[in-house]
């Protein structure tokens, strides 16, 4: 009895939409994707919809409480907190949005390469990666940033570099898994070239693991970027940024809490959104994230 004979192979575009649909069919995925989408949209159109100019200071209205004019009050320089919160993610999303794909790309390529080479070279490389990962990240990054300065042109490559290293592990492990499977052996036995085997058999199967990994890396990187800003090594004033805003408003927390709470809501809603989406993406692609090492 023919059960269903109407399966159609999805092209890349159809496959993309079917994955998105699958994500949205899960409540957590729908919420996550909506959060991420609104943040990105806000980053794009924010400057056109905010009520105030983010640099306008007002000495008469420093640290004011929420009011009709300033819904979330003002900061210690009298700038509108709502405006600065709405704009505070732009820099973070821009920097991490470029650095994450870079990290996944270089980490993925290196990981796949060493996973294929195997043997002693691979062992040595993994020792180095492990040693590197055992150092606290913030220290390593501070060293680089202090050496080269804090502009975007330094932050992007630095973040991409550091966050690519754990990706090596994932890509290498995924490569090992796939290489051991019979369909790769079958391709070898048929006599396909090395390049064909990598391109047709290996990469399509490693790709999904890397996509999920990339989504996770993004949320970690956002946290790192905000921490750097908080410490004064990220965005330079007066550009609004959540990390920086929290650092500035922290001293006035007791009588003007919105200065800290508002950017915190901004940052955490984005990170939660990314995490929820990544989980749903993993489920939609059939990858069990529970098994992934939490590096």
């Amino acid at each position: 009895m023919a059960v269903t004979s109407t399966y159609r192979r999805a092209g890349p575009v159809q496959r993309f939409w079917s994955v998105i649909k699958d994500i949205c069919s899960r409540p957590s995925g729908a919420i996550g994707l909506a959060l991420v989408f609104s943040h990105v949209a806000l980053a794009l159109i924010g400057p056109f919809i905010v009520p105030y100019d983010y640099t306008t200071m007002n000495a008469a209205q420093m640290l004011s409480q929420p009011s009709a004019a300033h819904w979330l009050g003002t900061d210690h320089l009298g700038r509108d907190t709502l405006t600065r919160t709405l704009l505070g993610g732009r820099e973070a999303i821009l920097v991490t949005g470029i650095a994450t794909p870079l990290a996944v790309l270089w980490g993925g390529l290196v990981g796949v390469f060493f996973g294929l080479v195997g043997g002693r070279v691979d062992d040595v490389l993994m020792r180095i990666v492990d040693a590197f990962l055992s150092l606290p990240w913030i220290l390593k990054m501070l060293v680089l940033i202090v050496t080269f300065g804090t502009g975007i042109e330094v932050l992007i490559p630095t973040l991409a570099f550091f966050y690519g290293i754990p990706v090596i592990r994932i890509a290498r492990a995924a490569t090992h898994d796939v290489v051991a499977r019979d369909f790769v052996q079958a391709a070898r036995a048929r006599g396909h070239g090395r390049f064909t085997i990598i391109w047709q058999e290996l990469l399509p199967n490693v790709r999904d693991a890397l996509l999920v990994e990339g989504a996770m890396r993004w949320s970690w990187m956002l946290l790192a970027f905000s921490s750097l800003s908080f410490l004064g090594f990220g965005v330079s004033p007066p550009t609004p940024d959540w990390g920086l805003m929290i650092a500035d408003a922290r001293g006035f927390m007791s009588f003007s809490p919105w200065g800290v709470i508002a950017p915190m809501i901004g940052l955490s809603s984005l990170i939660i959104g990314i995490n929820l989406s990544a989980d749903a993406l993993a489920k939609a692609l059939g990858i069990d994230r529970a098994q992934k090492a939490p590096v």
Binding site: Y7, D182, R188, N205
Partner: protein, 677 residues
């Protein structure tokens, strides 16, 4: 220990149970439909059916357990008078593992790896037995003795990885016995074990059931195993019990068309024919319609079967069958008709292996620097085999005997230590696949055991089949599509499969695609590594028929590796028996399965189970698994029931030729296997 209230009723009573899940569209789709079944004390009942028929779901439901997503739609399950689906978790947990124990598939492999065997059984006692702590140590030894493990004290101190697969399975059984269960549920407990190991475990279960008076529910797709341990059998199809009766009623002359088809699809040692394939697939949950669930595959279906669902009703011989036409079912044959052997073969050689030796042990850095050779015994040694064109050679032996290793070497994936691999008698194949010419590559194709592993999950069937066509023949465009479609048709799949992914195919369909991919190369020789062992018997029969057709049409030679002696017998012209990487016996199928046999062949044949309740396997050797071949002498010396003495340990046995082309490597002169009845 508190004895449960004794009742005269059944231990497990399933009454009108229906279980299902909710589809995306919101409808309830049944996985079990209206099951009524009871198991009395001391009774063992077998549940059989194809994969997806609901047998495991039913066994788990008897424990009051349903996989996530499944719900009880109606009916009930009682265990010793307790309504299992009305209990809270705590009281269920008390019953499970204690009075009602489950041995799941691969339970031997799921023992905790870091705990000694004795400690694990002790833990089971602590949880499920009322025995005082002080007596646990003694009880552990009792239990290990009860499952017939030699030297229980030493076994108790070992870790699971220090035991063989069969021993692990025995430990798992001992753990299940710790709570002195009234009922034992077994889900495919011997799948994945060697024939000899399986036969031994089944004997143990049979004895345990007799000794302890436990009720047993035995789930399996293997009618041979069921025949050995069960008094009663229930055959399941599409979530229903379609036939229920004593083992003899069900296995000799069943009164349901599905059960007859199932029986006919099993290869039997006593048969000379290929088994008969049962075409078609069971309906998916909810797809059974208003009539009989089997109607689409039934040879004697009538109009009535389409519209009216038959009841499970008692018939003349005392069995219960769910069929409108129990009088007509006898017209459905119980065995195959197609004779695969006795074909005229051309004299030209296809493949010759000359003194082939293969080792996994690679010389370490130290040995390479000092130029010293490690005195390791090769995994496979002294393989001399010639294969004629169009011939099928069966390769049998227990797990670890080197069957896959030899195939990998022929395919060039594992360069041998020494020896020749030649095609057509004179065309030497380079040892490494990378050094082989396009013609060589095309000539030798390999099919793997598990199609889930051997088909790339990210490629469509069209892409999978296109690979060899592009590589070997440079096909593209219209020609490529035409050829792929033709290949699919050869393995009896329609063109609408082209755009599907492997995950959208059933197990048997996937394996057909793998076969089609191998035949795309128009090979001289196809290497089949256990290609039917992941499949249901009915599907296996279809794949065997397909292989037979393809060799008729294309004149292809096969090396057919399997641990199942009945399957090998059905398809092979000649058979080679392998133990620890050494040849024991090789010859025409009739001779190898005939009265004169190597002691190891005899052991293997004795362990084969036939789906017949009166069939008694003859177990002459232990089921100990050896890790490496002995340094000298006969490879089988440590397990041989007919060992002569020092000569077997010291001198490698010489080949002796009996009938034409029938060679046995053994020192004994009196070699006779039991006659097959």
């Amino acid at each position: 220990m508190t004895t449960p209230p004794k009742s005269n009723g059944p231990i497990i009573a399933v009454d009108g149970l229906s279980v299902g899940f909710r589809s995306r569209a919101g409808a309830w789709l049944p996985v079990l439909r209206d099951i009524t079944l009871s198991v009395g004390a001391g009774e063992s009942i077998g549940l059989v059916g194809e994969s997806g028929s609901g047998k495991s779901t039913l066994a788990l439901a008897m424990m009051g357990y349903l996989k996530t997503g499944l719900h009880v739609l109606g009916g009930r399950v009682d265990f010793s008078g307790i309504d299992m689906f009305a209990q809270d978790r705590q009281s269920l947990e008390k019953v499970r593992g204690g009075r009602l124990a489950l041995i799941p598939q691969n339970s031997g492999q799921s023992l905790a790896p870091n705990l000694r065997v004795g400690a694990q059984i002790g833990e089971a006692l602590r949880l499920h037995s009322a025995l005082p702590e002080a007596r646990h140590a003694a009880r552990v030894l009792d239990l290990l003795t009860q499952v017939r493990l030699p030297d229980p004290a030493s076994i108790a101190r070992r870790y699971p990885h220090e035991l063989s697969g069969g021993q692990q399975q025995r430990v798992a059984i001992a753990m299940a016995l710790a709570g002195e269960p009234e009922a034992l549920l077994l889900d495919e407990p011997t799948t994945g074990l060697d024939v000899t190991t399986q036969a031994h475990i089944l004997e143990l279960l049979r004895d345990l059931a007799r000794e302890t008076g436990m009720a047993m529910v035995y789930v399996s797709h293997d009618l041979g195993a069921i025949a050995r341990v069960c008094d009663r059998v229930a055959v399941m199809y599409a979530g229903e019990v379609v036939l229920e009766g004593t083992a003899a009623q069900i296995l000799r002359d069943p009164s349901h068309p599905y059960a007859r088809g199932l029986l006919a699809s099993i290869p039997k040692l006593s048969d000379v024919c290929l088994p008969r394939a049962l075409d078609g697939r069971p309906p998916p949950p909810g797809g059974a319609g208003d009539g009989c669930a089997f109607v689409a595959r039934c040879a004697i279906a009538t109009e009535r079967c389409m519209v009216e669902r038959p009841d499970l009703s008692r018939i003349a011989d005392g069995a219960k069958t769910r069929c409108h036409l129990p009088q007509q079912v006898r017209s459905i044959p119980l065995s195959g008709e197609r004779n695969a052997q006795q074909r005229q073969l051309p004299a030209e050689l296809s493949l010759s292996l000359g003194d082939l030796a293969i080792s996994y042990a690679r010389a370490g850095l130290f040995e390479r620097l000092t130029g010293r050779d490690t005195a390791k015994v090769a995994t496979v040694d002294g393989i001399d085999i010639e294969l004629r064109q169009g011939e099928t050679l069966g390769l049998v032996g227990e797990s670890g005997s080197g069957k896959s290793t030899i195939l990998k070497s022929i395919a060039g994936l594992l360069p041998p230590l020494h020896g020749q691999i030649a095609l057509r008698g004179q065309d030497d194949l380079p040892p490494r696949v990378e050094d082989r010419s396009a013609k060589h590559l095309r000539d030798v194709q390999l099919i793997f055991q598990n199609p889930d592993e051997s088909l790339n999950p990210r490629q469509t069937i069209a892409q999978i089949l296109a690979q060899p066509l592009k590589l070997y023949f440079g096909l593209s465009g219209q020609a490529l599509i035409a050829r792929t479609t033709a290949l699919l048709a050869q393995v009896r799949l329609g063109a609408h499969y082209l755009e599907r992914l492997p995950s959208q195919l059933s197990g048997g369909e996937k394996q057909r695609v793998a076969v089609a991919r191998a035949f795309a190369a128009q090979p001289e020789l196809v290497l089949c590594d256990e290609i039917t062992s992941a499949l249901d018997v009915s599907v296996q029969a279809a794949v065997l028929e397909l292989l037979d057709d393809l060799r008729r049409d294309n004149g292809t030679s096969y090396i057919f590796v399997s641990h199942d002696l009945a399957v090998v017998k059905a398809l092979s012209d000649r058979v080679a028996v392998l133990y620890q990487g050494r040849l024991c016996e090789i010859g025409p199928t009739v001779d190898v399965y005939g009265p004169t046999a190597h002691p190891y062949t005899e052991v293997l044949l004795g362990a084969v189970l036939e789906p017949d309740p009166d069939f008694v396997p003859s177990l002459s050797a232990s089921d100990v698994v050896e890790q490496s071949p002995p340094a000298r002498g006969c490879p089988f010396q440590r397990r041989c029931p007919k060992r002569l003495g020092a000569i077997c340990d010291q001198t490698a046995p010489p080949p002796k030729t009996f009938a034409a082309g029938h060679t046995i490597w053994c020192h004994r002169d009196d070699l006779a296997a039991p006659q097959l009845s």
